[in-house]
């Protein structure tokens, strides 16, 4: 599966005031793989993926999508390419139900009554959401339930389903299981693997080395804004990864 690069970031540099957050970073993401991004605090992981997601601009460097150079100036640009982010705080609207969250900003219309009063097609949105969740084997008993009443794992799964629903080809996940129990983490991992098998490319950031070793196909290590090394999961050990994170040597 993993031979075609879908995203290439080259020579990415970013500084905040006097601090150099990223120094000449290269990152390649292949189709249908899970890439784990690790490093201690201040390594630059979040900054790097925020640049890819369009949340912040890079100072220098280029980004290629499927071999073509692209200009990502805002979240809309990356979303149009099919790059979606699952944020740490999940970006869910708690007082609305699951279909409402999945379709926020792109509600299905039933009838147009002038520009303002578009009546929603609630039935269609609910059916589509049900199909989406079933496909991804996400279990939510009642779709009419407010999202705040779901468990942490369900909320995480809904956030992921929402991200990939609109044909995300690249999914960025920043500490997705940080607040989840063991069983829920396992369910999210299963979902991530199903997505990967469907051809979605996933960039997964975590502090948890065990999680990273379990879910990633390849692992990239950063330290204080510099690229340290990359390893395939089968070709490395936990000790080696930890050593790379701490010492900054490959």
């Amino acid at each position: 599966m993993a031979s075609i690069p879908i995203v290439q970031m080259k020579n990415i540099c970013k500084h905040f005031g006097g601090v150099e957050a990223l120094k000449d970073i290269d990152l390649t993401l292949y189709e249908g793989e899970v890439l784990g991004l690790v490093g201690d605090n201040g390594a630059g992981k979040s900054t790097l993926i925020k640049i890819l997601a369009g949340a912040i601009p890079a100072d220098k460097g280029e980004i290629f999508f499927r071999g073509k150079k692209v200009d990502i100036r805002g979240p809309k640009d990356s979303r149009e390419l099919g790059i979606e982010t699952v944020y740490q705080d999940l970006a869910l609207i708690d007082n609305l139900d699951v279909p409402a969250n999945v379709f926020i900003g792109r509600e299905v219309k039933r009838q147009k009554l002038g520009r303002v009063f578009n009546i929603m097609n609630l039935k269609k949105m609910e059916e589509t959401t049900r199909r989406l969740l079933d496909q991804l084997e996400i279990i939510v008993k009642s779709l009419r339930e407010r999202v705040r009443n779901l468990s942490g794992g369900q909320r995480q799964s809904v956030a992921i389903a929402k991200a990939i629903f609109f044909n995300a080809k690249v999914l960025i996940m920043d500490e997705p299981t940080a607040a989840l129990a063991v069983e829920e983490t396992a369910k999210v991992f299963n979902l991530v693997r199903r997505l990967r098998d469907r051809g979605v490319s996933i960039t997964y950031i975590s502090h948890n080395i065990n999680d990273i070793l379990e879910i990633s196909d390849r692992i990239v290590v950063l330290k204080t804004g510099k690229f340290v090394g990359v390893r395939k999961k089968e070709e490395t050990t936990k000790d080696e990864v930890v050593k790379m994170i701490i010492s900054g040597e490959s």
Binding site: I93, L96, A100, F117
Partner: protein, 309 residues
């Protein structure tokens, strides 16, 4: 199963039923057609104010200027009537004035990130001062043409006309809030403004629109007020904003937004008006009424913490 249904019923509805029963036994004058009609007329003016305010509260804002908009429109309308204007002109001018105030509120709040409380507080004083300066503090007495008088004092069968009007408008707004994209975005903004903005909703525009609607409903309340007292009183609506906020919250709407709806506001209005009604009927006095209303707001706030609309 029925127990589940009961616990999911709004506490305010339960409170209303209890109040109704209490009022029925507390005074022999309560259960009379003429009393009910009076109650409905009272709800009408406040109902229009509460309608727009409910939407503003649902998006997480507040509007303290509604009483002053009412007063301003009441006297502007009375002055217009003096120059021979008709009902249609009054309504048009009211909508324009209400929209202008609302858009100003909304624009300054969203564009410059001013706290809605402060912004609308300032607007409240500006408009009140404007009302007084337009009439030099005097009340404007003018002959009400039949159609203007009918608005607050007419009946459709046994039901007062303003109540019929209010019911219709509330129904329309209820449907818009529940079934249109605009309504959903409104709730979304009240629930989580940043995320809603993140997913492409034009939050600023929706907010301005909501404040504009609030201004318009307050303006229409001004016309009803004019009709009700048959005069343009520059003091009309003074201090009523907090009372209306109380009604909206008693009904069960969440103060910080995102949860509730106009159907809850109706219940809150009924409860508040019932309180003042029974106090008047039993002769307890205005001061007791104030204490009672304040107590109910506090109780509603305490009880409302756990329950979600």
């Amino acid at each position: 199963m029925w127990l589940r249904k009961v616990t999911f019923t709004a506490p305010s509805l339960i409170a209303f039923v209890i109040m109704f029963i209490f009022c029925s036994v507390a005074s022999p004058f309560f259960f009379a057609a003429i009393n009910f009609q009076n109650i409905l007329r009272q709800i009408a003016v406040n109902g229009f104010l509460a309608l727009g305010l409910t939407m503003v509260i649902l998006i997480g804002g507040i509007d303290l200027s509604i009483g002053s908009v009412l007063g301003l429109v009441a006297i502007v309308s009375s002055l217009l009537l003096r120059t021979g204007a008709g009902l249609i002109q009054l309504i048009l001018v009211a909508i324009i004035v209400g929209m202008a105030v609302g858009v100003t509120n909304g624009f300054l709040i969203t564009q410059f990130d001013v706290a809605p409380f402060i912004m609308t507080l300032g607007m409240q004083f500006v408009l009140r001062g404007l009302s007084f300066s337009l009439t030099q503090g005097r009340t404007i007495f003018v002959e009400m043409p039949f159609n203007v008088d009918f608005i607050a004092n007419g009946d459709i069968g046994p039901i007062p006309f303003p109540a019929v009007l209010l019911g219709l408008v509330y129904l329309i707004v209820f449907l818009v809030m529940r079934y249109t994209i605009f309504g959903r975005h409104l709730y979304a903004i009240g629930g989580n403004e940043e995320v809603t903005r993140l997913f492409g909703v034009n939050v600023k525009l929706v907010k301005i629109a909501v404040y504009a609607v609030c201004g318009i409903t307050a303006a229409l309340a001004g016309i009803i007020n004019l009709s009700r007292i048959s005069a343009g009183d520059p003091q009309a609506g003074t201090g009523i904003a907090l009372f209306i906020i109380g009604a909206v919250i008693i009904g069960g709407n969440k103060f910080t937004g995102g949860l509730g709806g106009v159907h809850l506001t109706i219940i809150g209005l009924f409860i508040v008006v019932l309180i003042s009604n029974i106090i008047i009927l039993t002769g307890l006095g205005y001061y007791i009424q104030l204490i009672a209303e304040g107590t109910i707001v506090i109780i509603a706030a305490l009880l409302g913490r756990e329950w979600r609309p």
